[in-house]
């Protein structure tokens, strides 16, 4: 019983993490053409890294209890240069620095995040069905 509930907790932590990844992806997509930020320069693509969560019990054995967002990192890939002398952000040679966001890659990441979210959701419903069949033993 406890381990089935742990399954549900682990899967829900995965859902939270994937939803956070989707937040970051949507931030990247909406800033795909942002040429000016507070720090100056174009928008820098953000990414997330995940980390496994282990719960250390008193008996010394560590139990897995899901995933969490470890950090948001900034992509150090070079910016996209486009020739557009009339742009206010253009440099002396007439080139504008656009963010290093690749919209296609972001779309692929978005599909991956959605699939992972769905997978976690189906893990939860499987665990729920298992528990319900356990309840039907001896009925």
């Amino acid at each position: 019983m406890d381990s089935l509930f742990r399954t549900i907790n682990v899967a829900s932590s995965g859902m939270t993490a994937e939803r956070f990844r989707l937040d970051v992806i949507s931030q990247n997509l909406s800033n795909a053409d942002t040429t000016k930020t507070e720090n100056g320069g174009p928008y820098v693509r953000k990414g997330v890294t995940f980390q496994e969560v282990l719960n250390n019990t008193l008996s010394g054995t560590s139990q897995f209890s899901g995933v969490k967002v470890n950090e948001i990192f900034e992509d150090d890939a070079p910016f996209r240069l486009e020739y557009d002398p009339s742009h206010p952000e253009a440099n002396e040679e007439g080139y504008v620095e656009y963010p290093n966001v690749n919209v296609l890659n972001e779309m692929i990441d978005m599909i991956t995040a959605q699939r992972a979210y769905d997978l976690n959701a189906s893990v939860i419903s499987t665990a729920k069905n298992m528990y319900n069949s356990a309840l039907n033993i001896g009925k």
Partner: protein
């Protein structure tokens, strides 16, 4: 005449109902700024009353002695507030996936409690009517 199941199970089923109300409250306030999620503390209180807790018991041999074990009849689900921080800007710390999984767990818990209650009643039925 009735065994302890008839005391404990209704208490925990009541607590499950209350827990469901609290979770619905959290979900309803998903977009309320500065709302902090609520949760229920019942299991620990019940454990104390049943004597299965890790907490040290105060020994009493007089009615006026201080007693730290609650009576089973007085065990109630307490609603507490979780004031942890979150990644959200609006000060709200409700995570919809966590609440959803808590709701599923609570529903499963309730099903098993009601099944246990059925069995507890059936045992008396067997005694009264015999095995059919």
């Amino acid at each position: 005449m009735f065994d302890i199941n008839f005391k404990v199970l209704p208490l925990s089923m009541d607590a499950s109902v209350k827990n469901h109300q609290v979770i619905s409250q959290n979900m309803a306030n998903f977009s309320t700024p500065n709302y902090k999620r609520k949760y229920i503390s019942f299991d620990d209180e019940l454990k104390k009353a049943l004597g299965n807790s890790d907490q040290l018991k105060l020994k009493t041999n007089n009615q006026k002695h201080i007693n730290n074990t609650p009576y089973l009849e007085n065990v109630q689900a307490k609603i507490l507030e979780d004031d942890s921080k979150s990644l959200r800007n609006d000060g709200n710390n409700v995570d919809i996936d966590t609440e959803n999984s808590l709701m599923i767990q609570n529903a499963l818990n309730y099903s098993s409690q009601s099944r246990l209650m059925t069995y507890a009643i059936q045992r008396y039925d067997t005694v009264l009517r015999g095995v059919k």
